[in-house]
């Protein structure tokens, strides 16, 4: 099976967020970029499928600026990806989800692809648009928030589940197909040092991004919330008094009592 995994560099989880001087975006200065956790799950899924299906390859594709995009592609190779393609893009071409989806779709179309995997969203802007848009652009069904993905070689179909508002859904789909995976349900592996060293010299195919049509999503403002001032602590003598005071505050002050 030819498996393509689309990945995105995002700021490391515990990064202290700062606003860029123009107030319109995150200040990337000094930020360490890593694979988003959702994509780690997608890559892990690809590697598991590859191991279970002889003759499979994993091709990792990313769209974004230097050097962070190249870094996450190399990190993916260190984890076990066989091939890598980098769509070099900056500014809106790297931040507008539909522009990114179009750039990724062009790169995916150019290579063999039975199954396209990605995270259901990235941990930074959390749009979750790219997977579904990729499905449309590749004329394939797509599914978001997927867990427990299996390939049934006998029928050539994928079987998987999703936790949605309606319950635990079971699905099946033919290939080719785009699957956007839920995060951290499959315990992603970590790379070993020899593989990391080897990944530094691995070839990465580079393709340019092309301007997209259909309007633009432009970041106008990026704001951090005022620091929370700390909890209003409830004074009480008995548990019953604490309960009664809290319920009253939730009803009358916070107005969130259901």
């Amino acid at each position: 099976m030819e498996i393509v995994v689309c990945v995105k560099p995002v700021p490391e989880g515990e990064t202290r967020l700062r606003v860029r001087a123009d107030g319109k975006a995150l200040d990337p200065e000094g930020v360490k970029f890593v694979l988003t956790g959702y994509d780690e799950s997608a890559l892990e899924q690809a590697l598991l499928l590859k191991e279970a299906t002889p003759g499979s390859r994993v091709h990792v594709v990313a769209c974004g600026p230097a050097p962070r995009t190249e870094e996450v592609l190399r990190a993916s190779i260190a984890l076990g990806a066989d091939l890598a393609t980098w769509v070099e893009a900056t500014g809106e071409l790297a931040s507008d989800p539909l522009a990114v989806a179009r750039a990724l779709a062009a790169a995916v179309r150019a290579v063999p692809h039975d199954l396209v995997l990605c995270g259901k969203q990235a941990g930074d802007h959390e749009e979750g648009l790219v997977g579904a848009a990729l499905g449309e652009l590749l004329d394939a069904p797509d599914f978001g928030a997927v867990v427990d993905l299996r390939f049934d070689p006998a029928s050539g179909r994928l079987r998987f589940q999703r936790s949605t508002e309606g319950g635990q859904e079971k699905w099946e789909s033919p290939l080719p197909c785009v699957i956007a995976l839920q995060q951290a349900w499959n315990d992603p592996r970590t790379a070993k040092l020899p593989a990391i060293l080897k990944s530094r010299k691995a070839p990465i195919a580079k393709v340019p991004a092309t301007p997209a049509d259909g309007g633009r999503s432009i970041g106008e403002r990026f704001e951090l919330p005022p620091p929370r001032s700390g909890a209003k602590m409830i004074e009480f003598k008995t548990p019953e008094e604490a309960a009664e005071k809290l319920v009253r505050l939730l009803k009358e002050e916070a107005k969130v009592f259901p």
Binding site: L98, T164, E165, P225, P239
Partner: protein, 328 residues
Amino acid sequence: MSPGVLVVGELHDGRVVPSTLEAVGVARTLAPGPGEVVVLLAGSRSRAAAAELGAHGVGRVLVSEDARLDTAPAAAIAVVATAAARALDAGTVLVGGTTFGRDLAGRLAARWSATAATGATDVVRDGTALRVRRPVFGGRATETLRLDGPRCVVAIRPHAFAAPAGSPSSPTLEAAPAVEIPAPLLAARRTGVEPTSAGAGPGLTDAAVVVSGGRGVRAPENFRLVEELAAALGGAVGASRAVTDAGWRPATLQVGQTGKTVSPQLYIAVGISGAIQHLMGMISSRVIVAVNNDATAPIFKVADYGIVGDLFQILPALTAEVRRARGT
């Protein structure tokens, strides 16, 4: 941008889901006049479900009663939605903030050559564009986007908007434009659904109230105290990573950076110290309550209300008080 606004609705068990009604509320603020919001419903039960939209100020409903859409992916409904948006000459399509809504938004945006945003907590017109506010980075920041183009798709954030009231009326019903759905989209199908049991995991990301337990609960059998409070509040149960790693509760209940991100109206953290790992999954909750026996726990820095005390005493009292207050 054309002023027309279309809401693509979602049905669950033949009923319109709450997030669709929330989207209708936003659509009414964007539509050029009252009664000019159009809703598209798809599936064999769409005609019956359309009636309840009248009570929310919807004047016109398009129905696509194709039974194949009952078990088809959002991608198939996006084909119908694109045809409907074109037929109406709509400039904006709104969807609810559900798994279905997210899937539909990206698919429709690509098919309809639109620009798009999800998780919107505020949507306003700005000349010919839409301005959308949305939390990012797990609620640690907020961005404002300008969607600039003739066509925009916006998925709203769950619970961020109220379902609108309207004088009860019967919306006019029309058949949605007939359109051929590509075979691969119908070859993919939902083969089953296990409904969410009350307070159980799958409803976690959609619940208006979440009660999560952490290490302070001490043993798996004590977790019922958390579950009882969640049930009394009509909410969902969550857990910290310590709890799911220990196998006390399944990993599907984990709230945090490596688990689920939730943004309920009310989040109650019980016996959770408040590691950044956990905070990233719940910091965008509207009101946070912490119950912990350690007054120095970092959770109290982000909480709105704090109770320092023994959860084994506080929780039963709180559950009883909640039941009394809700009359259940």
